[in-house]
Amino acid sequence: MPEDLALETRALTKRFGELIAVNALDLAIAPGSVHGLLGRNGAGKTTLMRMILGLLSPDAGAIELFGRSATPGDVDARARVAGFVEEPRFYPYLSGRRNLELLARLDGRADTRSPEEALELVDLDSRGREKVGNFSTGMRQRLGLAAALLRPAELVVLDEPTIGLDPANARTVRTLIGALSSRGVAVLLSSHNMSEIAEICDRVTIIHEGSRVWEGDQAELLAAAPAPSYRVWTSDDDQASAIARRLEVAVETPRRAATHTITVQGDEGERDGFVLALAQEGIAIRRLEPDVPPLEALFTSLTSPRDADQPAQNTDTTEEIAA
C-alpha cells in the first residue's frame, strides 16, 4: 500500500473578485521530498500556501494532508504541518524566546521542541532574550523558521525562507531544509532564488497566473529547459563572434563587460561545432560559463507574457508521485 502523500491538492481554486489567484491547481508532495514552488510575483504561490496553512478558504477543489481532507478551519488536520508565509511576524514587545514559548503553548502538545533548541537551530540562541522589535529582517526570518521547527511537523511550508539572510545564514537554512528532508519531512518551498531551488529541491512546480505550467524533477528539468546559453571569452572575440553568427549560435545580448562580447546558445552538437570552428581558426577559449541556469531559462520561457497560454507539460504528477 503506498504511503500517504504529505500534501495533495486537487483542482484547488481561489478567486479574489474577478481575479483568479489559484486556478484548478493540482499539487502532490511525497514525504521527505523538497518541493520548490516558482512563479512571478502575484502568480499565486503565497495564496496557495495560505490555503494549505488554513489561512484562506478555497473556492473550489480540495486539500489533503497525509491522506486526510483539510478543510479551512480544521486545525487537527494541520497538526503535522508548520511553516510561514511572507515575512514572519512576531510580537515586537516580547523577546524572541518568549514569542516561541507562547507559540509552543498554543501547539498544546508535549513533544514540541524547546524554544532554546529551536533558537539554536537557526543560530539565534545568543539573541533570544532580545526583544523582537530590535531584530533585523534576517533575524525575524530565522525566528520564523525556529517557530516552524518548534513542533515535529512532517510538512513544512516555507515562503521565501532565505530572503533577507546573509549568505552564511542562507546556507544554514538550506542545510536545515536538507536535514528535515533526510528525516522524512516534506518541505514546500517558494523562492525567487533559482539556484537555491535547483540546489535543494527534488521537484519543482512553476506557477503562472494561478495555474501550474510545469512540474518535474531535476532530470526532467534539464530535459525540458531550452537549449542552454554560454558566455564565452576568447583570444579573438571579434572573429569568434563572427563565427558564432555564421553558425547561427550567437545570442544578441547587451554588452555586460568590456572583456565579454559573445553569448552562444545551441544544443550539444551546435556547441561542439562552434568550439571546433574556433579551433580551426586558431582561436583559444579562455573562459566559458553558463549564461542562464536551466531552471531560470525554463522559468523565463514558461512565465514570460508571450508564453502565458502555453499549456502545462505534464498534467498528472499526483499519480506519478504516489506510485
Partner: protein, 451 residues
C-alpha cells in the same frame, strides 16, 4: 553555529504511531493572550492610573473645599470615604470603562492586524474558536482587573484619607459604615456586568474594524453617545435597553426600599449585550479570510464608515424614541420620593445638630409639579429643570410653613433638590461639640429607585 551543527541537531520526526493531534485547552489560550496583554504598555499604564487616580482624588477632596456636587454623592465626597468611592464609581462607569475597554479589548484583535501576526497565531494548533475565546476572555479579565483595582483602591483611599463616616443614601437615609461598605462592594460588583458588555463592545470594534484606532476610540464614541442619551431618554422602553442603564442600577441599592427588580433587569440587559457583541465578533472572525496585508485597507475604510454610520443611526433612533412609552418620572413618583428623602434628611439633620435622634417624626406631605406649582395636585412628568415641589408639615398645630424647593430631575430617575436657606438653614450647621457639618437639607440628591 555552523551549518553542519544545524544538520546534526535537527531531530527526526517521531514514529507516526506516537503522534496524536492535540490542541491546547482554552485555559492555555487565555493565559497566552493575557501574557501578551500584560506585556504591553497600555495595560500597565492603565493599571497604574487605576491606582493613582482614586488616591489623588481622595487627597484632593481632603485638602480642597471644592465638591463635585453636580454628581451623585459628590457633595459628600469630602465627608464620607464611601461617597468618595461612589463618586469614582460614577465617573469610572461614565468614562473609565469606555477608555479601559478601548485600550484593552479594542486593541486585542486589531493589534494582530497591526503587527501582521494573525498568520503566526493561526498556523499553530489552537482553533479560531479557542483563539477568539482566549482573546475575548483575556480582554474581559483585563477590564475586570482595572475595574476591580479602581474599586478596591477607591474604597481604601476613601476610608483612609476621608474616613468611614456614615453615608447619606439616595432616599435621605443614614447608612451606617458596615452596611455602607457592603452596599459599596455590591455596587462595584454589579458594575462588572455592564463593564463586561463594554469589553465585548471593544472586541466587536476590534474584530470588525481591524484597526487599533477604531477599536480604542469606538467604545469611547459609544460612551459619548450614551452619555447624551442618558440625559435625553427618560422612557422606560429605551432606558431598559440602553447599555448604560446597568451602570446606574447601583442607585437602587442606596434607596429605601431597594427595588431588586431593577438589578435583575440590569443583569439581563448586560448579558444580552455581551452575548450580541460576542456573537457578532465571533461571526466576523470565523468567516474572515487572511489574505494578506494588501487586502485589508479597503475593507478597513469601508468598515470604519459602516461602524460610524451604525453608531450614529442607532444613537439617533434611540434619541428620537427616547421619551416614547411610559416613564417613571411622574409627579406622583417624584412627590413620594422627595417626601421620603426630605423626611429622612430632617431626621439626619436633627441627629447631627443635636447629637441624638429626634423623639418624634414630623409628618410631611409633598406635591410636585412642572412649572407653576399648584398646591392641590401633582402635575407633569419627564426630566428637566423646571420642577418644583411644595413640602408641607401636615401637623394641625405647630406646623412649619410650607417649603417650596426647586428640582432638577434627570432622565436616569435621580434628582437634585435645592432648598431655600431661609427654610432649611445655611450650608453648614454646627454639632453639639461646635464642629461644622454639611447641612443635608441645604441641597440634596435622591433617586426614584428605577434607573
Amino acid at each position: 553555529m555552523s551549518a553542519v551543527t544545524a544538520t546534526q541537531t535537527v531531530a527526526a520526526p517521531e514514529p507516526r504511531a506516537a503522534r496524536t493531534a492535540s490542541r491546547p485547552g482554552l485555559g492555555v489560550a487565555i493565559r497566552v493572550e493575557f501574557s501578551k496583554l500584560i506585556a504591553q504598555l497600555p495595560l500597565r499604564v492603565l493599571l497604574v492610573f487605576c491606582v493613582i487616580v482614586p488616591v489623588v482624588f481622595a487627597i484632593g477632596m481632603r485638602v480642597s473645599g471644592i465638591r463635585p456636587s453636580d454628581t451623585l454623592f459628590g457633595r459628600w465626597a469630602g465627608t464620607s470615604g464611601f461617597a468618595t468611592s461612589l463618586f469614582i464609581l460614577d465617573w469610572t462607569a461614565a468614562w473609565g470603562v469606555a477608555v479601559g475597554a478601548g485600550l484593552i479589548a479594542g486593541d486585542i484583535f486589531a493589534s494582530e492586524d497591526r503587527l501582521g501576526t494573525w498568520k503566526t497565531l493561526l498556523t499553530r494548533s489552537a482553533s479560531r474558536t479557542q483563539l477568539f475565546l482566549g482573546k475575548a476572555i483575556a480582554a474581559t479579565i483585563g477590564v475586570w482587573l482595572c475595574w476591580a483595582l479602581i474599586g478596591v483602591v477607591s474604597i481604601g483611599a476613601g476610608l483612609a484619607v476621608i474616613g468611614g463616616e456614615p453615608l447619606i443614601g439616595l432616599s435621605g437615609q443614614l447608612i451606617e459604615p458596615g452596611h455602607a461598605l457592603g452596599l459599596l462592594a455590591a455596587s462595584w460588583a454589579i458594575g462588572l456586568l455592564p463593564a463586561t458588555a463594554f469589553a465585548a463592545l471593544g472586541v466587536l470594534f476590534s474584530v470588525a474594524s481591524r484597526s487599533t484606532v477604531v477599536g480604542v476610540v469606538g467604545p469611547l464614541l459609544v460612551a459619548i453617545v450614551l452619555q447624551g442619551l442618558e440625559n435625553i431618554a427618560s422612557g422606560t422602553i429605551v432606558r431598559s435597553i440602553m447599555l448604560f442603564t446597568p451602570f446606574d442600577v447601583y442607585h437602587v441599592l442606596f434607596t429605601a426600599p431597594v427595588h431588586a427588580g431593577a438589578v435583575a433587569q440590569a443583569v439581563v440587559t448586560s448579558l444580552v449585550y455581551t452575548a450580541i457583541f460576542a456573537a457578532a465578533s465571533w461571526w466576523l472572525l470565523r468567516r474572515r479570510e487572511f489574505a494578506g496585508a494588501d487586502a485589508v485597507p479597503a475593507n478597513r475604510r469601508r468598515t470604519f464608515v459602516q461602524i460610524g454610520v451604525t453608531v450614529v443611526v442607532i444613537g439617533g433612533v434611540l434619541a428620537g424614541v427616547g421619551k416614547v412609552g411610559p416613564t417613571p418620572l411622574t409627579a406622583d413618583n417624584l412627590a413620594t420620593s422627595v417626601n421620603t428623602t426630605f423626611s429622612n434628611l430632617v431626621q439626619v439633620n436633627y441627629l447631627w445638630h443635636n447629637g441624638r435622634p429626634a423623639d418624634t417624626t414630623t409628618p410631611w406631605s409633598t406635591i410636585c409639579s412642572v412649572g407653576t406649582i399648584t398646591p392641590t395636585a401633582n402635575k407633569g412628568s419627564g426630566a428637566g429643570e423646571g420642577w418644583s415641589c411644595l413640602i408641607t408639615d401636615t401637623r394641625t398645630t405647630d406646623g412649619i410653613s410650607p417649603i417650596q424647593v426647586d428640582l432638577e430631575v434627570r432622565a436616569n430617575g435621580c434628582y437634585t433638590v435645592q432648598a431655600p436657606p431661609a427654610a432649611v438653614g445655611a450650608l453648614h450647621g454646627t454639632d453639639p461639640k461646635g464642629r461644622s457639618y454639611l447641612n443635608p437639607l441645604y441641597a440634596f440628591d435622591g433617586c426614584l429607585g428605577t434607573p
